[in-house]
């Protein structure tokens, strides 16, 4: 069994050799599936997701989801592959965790996409998780952003997301004072051991549009965790932006030719 997060104080190195403020390698591709209206493939470390977007399309008869008349409804379907985790596990339709992720993603994008442009229609975001190693929700949000851009659905700005956590530590000079060591972009092992949150921001600023935390943490620690998370989102945005621009350039070139 390898070491755990308790050695952080010794080395200031995390379980995978990163420093506290380093992201994992992010690799993203856009327009990966020709058949879909929009699609993307995203890796954050060993977390790998595929996202496809179909729509805006006419409302399907009897489709679930809050389809309002004057706005397009956003339906999110998350599928976690049985082989994606350490243990092979089949998740049913009614899995609460998946339902919550779907709701979070749907509500995040319903405020960013210009849904009023597509009355009486639905936009379906389908996310397949191929491999999980932490920061799952963040990866889904990032992949969905790319796929929606690929689908050409107008939106006010990118939603980018990442996770942050905290390791408790104590000051050497004043033992009564507690310090916090925030960590950026947690992997699966760290998520098991530490309190963490997923933060998503809109655009390059510091407007937080998603913030999900399911672990307990002292309220004093929250501020530095959020700050680090928002900072990480900025880095993620630059990476995603570069992917989109590269794709845009290629599209333009092909049109010109």
């Amino acid at each position: 069994m390898p070491l755990d997060t308790s050695i952080y104080a010794l080395s200031h190195l995390r379980l995978d050799g990163r420093r506290w403020n380093e992201l994992r390698r992010i690799h993203a591709q856009i327009s990966t599936q020709a058949a879909a209206d929009g699609s993307s493939y995203l890796e954050m470390g060993n977390t790998k997701v595929i996202c496809t977007v179909s729509g805006p399309a006419e409302v399907r008869r009897g489709a679930a989801g809050g389809v309002q008349d004057e706005k397009a409804g956003i339906i999110v379907e998350v599928g976690i592959a049985g082989f994606s985790g350490i243990e092979r596990k089949k998740r049913g339709r009614g899995d609460k965790r998946i339902a919550e992720m779907q709701a979070t993603i749907s509500s995040a994008f319903s405020s960013t996409l210009f849904t009023h442009l597509y009355p009486r229609s639905t936009i379906t975001i389908t996310i397949s998780i191929l491999s999980q190693d932490g920061s799952l929700l963040a990866a889904c949000l990032n992949a969905a952003t790319l796929a929606l851009i690929d689908a050409g659905i107008p939106m006010s700005d990118y939603i980018v997301s990442c996770t942050s956590g905290a390791i408790p530590s104590y000051s050497r000079t004043d033992p009564d004072k507690e310090l916090v060591d925030p960590l950026l972009d947690l992997n699966g092992q760290e998520e098991l051991e530490l309190p963490w949150l997923t933060v998503g921001t809109l655009g390059a600023g510091e407007r937080i549009s998603v913030c999900v935390m399911e672990t307990k943490v002292r309220v004093e620690r929250l501020e530095s965790m959020l700050a680090v998370g928002v900072d990480g989102c900025k880095q993620v945005r630059e990476i995603l932006d570069a992917v989109v621009r590269r794709r845009g350039k290629r599209v333009l070139e092909s049109v010109v030719r």
Binding site: S11, L13, N46, D181
Partner: protein, 995 residues
């Protein structure tokens, strides 16, 4: 369709990313494949003060704290490495010689590689924790180098390479990198300095050979140590059992059966064919052990060495139940290892294999079996079992002395020889020890560790850690005792002392009422508060007051030292206190839980000074019914610190009519009513032999032993403390239903009393009713022998031993009905009144402070059920150990007080065996074992005894028509003298029957 697969070669970061793939199996037997990313980097410093290149990119944490470099510029050298050296031990070296690395005489500037740390953690968690402790110490200069994250030192496991070979290669690579790196660092600094050598310490022969081929400085641990000063002592501290043990594989030489595999054990336990439990050895018979498993009501007996199969008392073992015809009753005989296997030569076994069971042992067992078959004994036979595997060894360090007869002392040369160490704890087998200093060790208290117990060895093999001093010297014996009971007795570390208030002894309650310390504190300085404690008490936890109210009721306050004001959660002092768990009281020494400044001054509710307190104030009716209760932080000024005797005198003196005395009288009368109520509810009045050792004031040599006296004032204090504890328990349980720290005492199962009840009915025709605590209490009251007033106390002592022990627990882990405190007959209970000396009380203080909205509860620890559970588990163990240590200390001093004296006293037979009995001597509170063979007349043969197990009578035939009848509960006269055992060199109290 486009393919999503991409080649890593196109990625610019690819060279920095690797992944670790490994396979692990879970508890349930599943196999999991785990893939982890690894980010390799070049900014991990070497941490040598010689290097300036690494200094440029020191890592910092989020708060900007940089790690300091630890490896010194001019490390110590040896003859072989005159320029100084940094040591790089591999995992084997640490496993074999952890005791060496903890020495203060050497082993400085050590580089611990990540590979080694990881491997060590897998091999032995305790050693891993000790190593982490070393890396934290400032003066030892230990540095953990994360070689698997550094690009240059990262090693990819090759195909067909075992993980061990890969790790060894990683160690060698790191060592050679260090060597080069340091050379460069020194060269680039321009100054001509000596480059310290980087020395790999390893006990793996293949690794050493490869290291030599790679031109790396490497040597075996033993070779390195023999180049140091004081090599003999240091060499003894190396664990030798792990080296070169491939020689004996011949099946015929294996003495013990093999353990079955872990997966087999797990399957067996799940299927119910095997059982898991803690192995414990009987204190009277070292060949008989027992394992309590949930599937059987009675403990499973483990008889004989072969069945106990290398398990040591305390290990968690897996057992297989033997077929019914082999079930036996527990032995009724005293069997002691020292007497059976005396004069064994420790060296013998190295030569040829021998039987597990010696001839004497076999005879002792056989005789017993015969007896049990012959007479139809009262108890049904108990299931027996044999041990098939060990889940977890609970070996610790053991204190003992070297058996002088086990080695040939004539050899004057410093050759390594093998001796037996006889542990102080009778339940632990002899430990074979290889030593070069056998002569010096004779007559000393020695600390050793068990290294292993192989199938071909009759006894476990261990190695020397250190000597504590002469056997029987006060210092050595006290330290031995503390080690045996795992009491943390080292002085407080600097980090802990840093947490104390800066003002030290000059700290005072702030004069200004606007000071933050006064926030939400009630000013109770005008109340007439006093404390009542034993004579000479320095850590005064509690103080009391009472005053009449205009409506005829009384206001009664219990004021407890406000320790939680000084000990903040989660700092170093809190961590230390939670590990220590309790203050340990020995006869001549107190091992504090908190630093003395707090314990005996700032927190102690000393008279005439203002102190912070946590007060519980009730309004009680004159019949001691609670009208209302309030809890508040406060400031008090105690008017007087009484001893129990002084308080009693003052209350009894009719001429004293001042309000303070009146208050104390009110307290006394209320406490009597509280006591009566408790008794009516079914509280037990139990007895345990308590004696006090009187010592000479100057030399503190013990001179006499007195049994403790109880005064009415003792009970006064006790009643109000109980009341406070119960009130607080209710309050914190309402506030935190899931996480309140409470204390409970479960009702003992009826089977516990079976033996005692039968004994009472057979011997005295008395019935013991045990269906409830009230029934037990009343039936204990009837156990009286008109001729013998002590008989009742004796029964109470025996009944106490049938009880379960009380325990701390976290309220969320049990149903409310199980909160009950059996002994106190209260539905809920906690400890609140002694925060200076018990950690549980400190936790209760914090919870109460949160419950009254004085301060928020610290989220990290006390709100989490699992954290609280682990705290409870620790303090339960510490509490028990503290009690045992205290008792052992009294026992030692009683022995010292009796030194050179022969006295005759009255005693009572507590237990009858077929070759002896246990006699309790109330005067000294000691139990003595009387063996038949000590009753022989003038060096004759051991007298024959006829044991009637149904009547609990042992008829001894002293020869010549004389006989003697030893009866359970019978009164006997005994002669008590101390005696030095030649074999063990230990002084013991001997009890002999007289006349």
């Amino acid at each position: 369709m486009t393919s999503l697969k991409r080649s890593l070669a196109t990625d610019p970061h690819a060279s920095n990313i690797s992944s670790k793939v490994f396979v692990r199996s879970t508890k349930s037997g599943k196999v999991q494949k785990i893939v982890r990313e690894l980010y390799l980097r070049q900014d991990i410093p070497c941490s040598s003060k010689l290097c300036s290149a690494c200094l440029a990119n020191v890592p910092a944490d989020a708060n900007g704290n940089e790690t300091l470099f630890v490896l010194s510029e001019k490390p110590a050298g040896t003859k072989a490495f005159p320029t100084g050296h940094y040591l790089v031990p591999d995992t084997n070296a640490l496993l074999n010689g952890m005791d060496l690395f903890e020495q203060s005489s050497g082993f400085y500037d050590v580089i611990i590689l990540q590979t080694v740390l990881e491997e060590l953690r897998n091999r032995s968690l305790p050693l891993y924790n000790r190593l982490l402790g070393l890396t934290k110490s400032e003066y030892k200069h230990y540095y953990v180098f994360f070689n698997d994250f550094r690009l240059e030192t990262y090693v990819v496991r090759e195909k067909n390479e075992t993980i061990n070979d890969r790790n060894d290669r990683a160690v060698r690579k790191a060592v050679s990198w260090y060597q080069e790196h340091l050379q460069q660092a020194v060269k680039s600094s321009g100054r001509s300095k000596n480059v310290p050598a980087v020395v790999m310490l390893s006990d793996d022969r293949a690794n050493l050979q490869k290291a030599n081929a790679d031109r790396i400085n490497a040597c075996p641990l033993a070779e390195y140590v023999s180049g140091l000063d004081d090599a003999d002592r240091l060499l003894d501290m190396i664990n030798t059992s792990r080296q070169g043990h491939e020689a004996r594989t011949n099946v015929s030489e294996q003495i013990y059966p093999e353990y079955i595999t872990l997966s087999k054990m797990m399957t067996g336990i799940r299927a119910g064919t095997l059982h898991q439990g803690v192995f414990s050895v009987s204190p009277y018979n070292y060949l008989e052990g027992s394992v309590h498993v949930p599937a059987f009501e009675k403990s499973l007996l483990i008889l004989g060495r072969e069945s106990s199969n290398r398990a040591v008392s305390g290990d968690i073992v897996v057992v297989e139940v033997l077929p019914k015809p082999q079930w036996k009753t527990p032995s009724t005989k005293i069997v002691e290892e020292e007497t059976l296997n005396k004069d064994e030569n420790a060296d013998v076994e190295e030569g040829e294999g021998e039987a597990v069971v010696t001839e004497q042992e076999r005879r002792a067992l056989q005789e017993q079996v015969k007896k049990t078959h012959g007479s139809n004994v009262e108890g049904r036979p108990q299931p027996t079992a044999r041990i098939v595997g060990v889940i977890k060894r609970n070996w610790r360090q053991y204190v003992g002395h070297v058996d002088g007869s086990s080695s040939s002392m004539s050899q004057k040369n410093r050759r390594q020889q093998t001796v037996f160490l006889i542990p102080m704890d009778k339940r632990i087998p002899k430990i074979r020890l290889h030593t070069r200093q056998a002569e010096e060790l004779l007559g000393k208290r020695v600390l050793v560790t068990i290294d292993s117990w192989d199938r071909d060895s009759r006894y476990p093999v261990g190695h020397f850690v250190r000597t504590l001093g002469e056997v029987e010297s006060k210092g050595a014996e006290t330290e031995a005792l503390l080690l045996e009971y795992d009491v943390q007795y080292r002085p407080f570390a600097k980090g802990v002392l840093d947490c104390l208030p800066r003002e030290g002894h000059d700290w005072k309650v702030p004069a200004s009422l606007y000071d933050p310390g006064w926030r939400d504190r009630r000013d109770l300085r005008d109340l007439l508060i006093c404390s009542i404690d034993p004579v000479g008490c320095q850590d005064i936890d509690d103080a009391l007051h009472a005053r009449p109210l205009p409506n005829g009721n009384f206001e009664v306050g219990v004021h407890i030292a406000d320790v939680s004001h000084f000990v903040r959660p989660n700092n170093a002092m809190d961590a230390e206190a939670s590990i220590r768990g309790t203050t340990v009281y020995l006869v001549d020494k107190r091992i504090d839980m908190l630093p003395t400044l707090l314990g005996t001054d700032l927190c102690s509710l000393k008279p005439y000074v203002e102190r912070y307190a946590f007060s519980t104030i009730w309004e009680l009716t004159p019949d001691a019914d609670i009208v209302s209760s309030t809890f508040t932080k406060s400031v008090i000024r105690s008017r007087e610190a009484f001893s129990y005797e002084q308080a009693q005198l003052r209350i009894d003196d009719p001429s004293q009519t001042d309000p303070l005395t009146q208050g104390m009288r009110a307290l006394l009368s209320l406490s009597r009513k509280l006591h009566q109520k408790r008794m009516d509810a079914g509280a037990l009045n139990l007895a345990s032999p308590e004696v006090r050792v009187q010592s000479e004031s100057e030399t503190s040599d013990p001179i006499d032993v007195k049994t403790k006296e109880l005064l009415a004032t003792n009970s006064l204090v006790e009643e109000f403390m109980l009341l406070a504890n119960i009130s607080v328990a209710r309050k914190i349980h309402t506030a935190f239903p899931q996480t309140a720290l409470l204390r409970r005492h479960t009702a003992p199962p009826a089977t516990n009393f079976e033996a005692l009840a039968t004994q009472l009915s057979v011997k005295r025709g008395l019935t013991l009713r045990t269906e409830s605590s009230a029934a037990l209490a009343s039936s204990l009251d009837t156990c009286i022998d008109a001729r013998e007033p002590f008989f009742n106390t004796l029964v109470r002592i025996l009944a106490t031993r049938c009880m379960m022990s009380a325990e701390y627990f976290c309220s969320g882990t049990h149903a409310y009905a199980d909160f009950r405190h059996y002994g106190l007959a209260s539905d809920i209970y906690t400890h609140f009144t002694s925060p200076i000396r018990r950690y549980a009380d400190l936790v209760a203080h914090r919870q109460l402070a949160a419950a009254i909205n004085y301060s928020p509860l610290d989220a990290g620890s006390l709100q989490s059920k699992s954290r609280l559970e682990s705290v409870c588990k620790n303090i339960n163990v510490r509490h028990r150990n503290a009690q045992l240590a205290g008792r052992a200390s009294v026992e030692f001093y009683v022995g010292q007080a009796l030194k050179g004296r022969v006295t005759e006293e009255e005693g009572f037979v507590m237990k009858v065996f077929e070759n002896g009995c246990v006699v309790f001597v109330p005067r000294f509170g000691i139990e003595g074992l009387v063996r038949l063979r000590e009753m022989r007349v003038d060096g004759g043969l051991e007298p024959e005894g006829e044991f009637d197990a149904e009547e609990y009578v042992l008829n001894v035939n002293l020869g010549g028509g004389k006989g003697r009848r030893i009866e359970l509960f019978g009164k006997v006269r005994v002669r008590i003298r101390d005696e030095k055992d030649e074999g063990t060199g230990k002084r013991k109290v001997r009890v002999e029957l007289v006349g």
